[in-house]
Symmetry: C2
Subunit: 187 residues, 2 copies
Amino acid sequence: MEHEDPRTRILDAAEELFYGQGIQAVGMDAVRAASGMTMRRLYQHFPSKNDLVEAYLLRRDGRWRASLAGHVSRAGGPPREQLLAVYDWLGLWFAEPGFRGCAFVNSFGELGATTPVVAAAARHHKEEFGGYVAGLVEAAGAPPATAVHLTLLAEGAITTAAVHGDPTAAADAREAARLLLDAALAG
Amino acid sequence: MEHEDPRTRILDAAEELFYGQGIQAVGMDAVRAASGMTMRRLYQHFPSKNDLVEAYLLRRDGRWRASLAGHVSRAGGPPREQLLAVYDWLGLWFAEPGFRGCAFVNSFGELGATTPVVAAAARHHKEEFGGYVAGLVEAAGAPPATAVHLTLLAEGAITTAAVHGDPTAAADAREAARLLLDAALAG
DNA sequence: CACCGGCGAGAACGATCGTTCTCACTTTCG
DNA sequence: CGAAAGTGAGAACGATCGTTCTCGCCGGTG
């Protein structure tokens, strides 16, 4: 496990620390220690902490959305069922140990006002997620407004689960989404 | 305007800076300068930055909920209309200059993992808001599950409006809330 | 007048952080 | 073998932060 790509080892350590404690609360020396690197090698791969933060957010965005899409497509069934599977996946995520909300919302609140690349990463992540939901909603034959509604529910569930430390927000959001979706499909 | 209570002047400066830039991004010297105080007087009123952060969150919670409740009660009408007025108030808030999302979610993401008092303040704020919505929902004669759904929509709208910098999330959430509420009242 | 407690202004202090540098050692290649 | 280049380990550097201290000044009291 220790012979992996150095970049991967660094990003693994950075992700766990940044996500779990906040970006500003984690020093570069903590990343170095957790990744088993020397300072020189760490700065060879990421010339500044900003570069590391950007890479952390970029990789997390790709993995997060790929994991969601994988779960939904494996769930199969008609588009309506796939949409509801989004909330099932959220429930699994919320129940993971160390879950602490959306990494992009957290970093946006912490650094969005001072670090434009962080604000852009958060915006991009949310746009991509909204677009993904919109695709499923369109496939289900519901109007675009429904996609926005379902996205708001997911967003609210993430925040609520994080602050309350309670994964049941996923099931609540799923139920509300089902009601909205069925109403939109019946109309 | 400069003869106000020193505590108020400090908290006003701290709130603007902490909310606008993030807590860790603002040094005590910036709070001192913005409040027109000397270091000695600043530390006389708040013996540590933690105390100031706690007071900032506490005051903001009270004011935020009072402003919301004031708007809703001034809106009057049946409980259903009052519930929808919650989202109108959100829309006004989102459109304020300098709006940057929920102060409690932001501080939770930044310090929740390392500063228990911040995590507790965020939890308390969200619990109070959820309880307030639940009271309106009960008055409207809808089941408690509807209150959770409407709270998730509001939460999602706040985050979405912040990250996208777009106040229309309030109207979207209002529309979804109306659909859920009418369905719950019809059933 | 002489003394004293408190104030404003800002320097000072110790800690921490991001980043770079030192230095001894190893490896590589002619 | 011997010079050149790169590495690991960690010290060093400069900046910043939270917090405290110094110092000169002022107003009130005996």
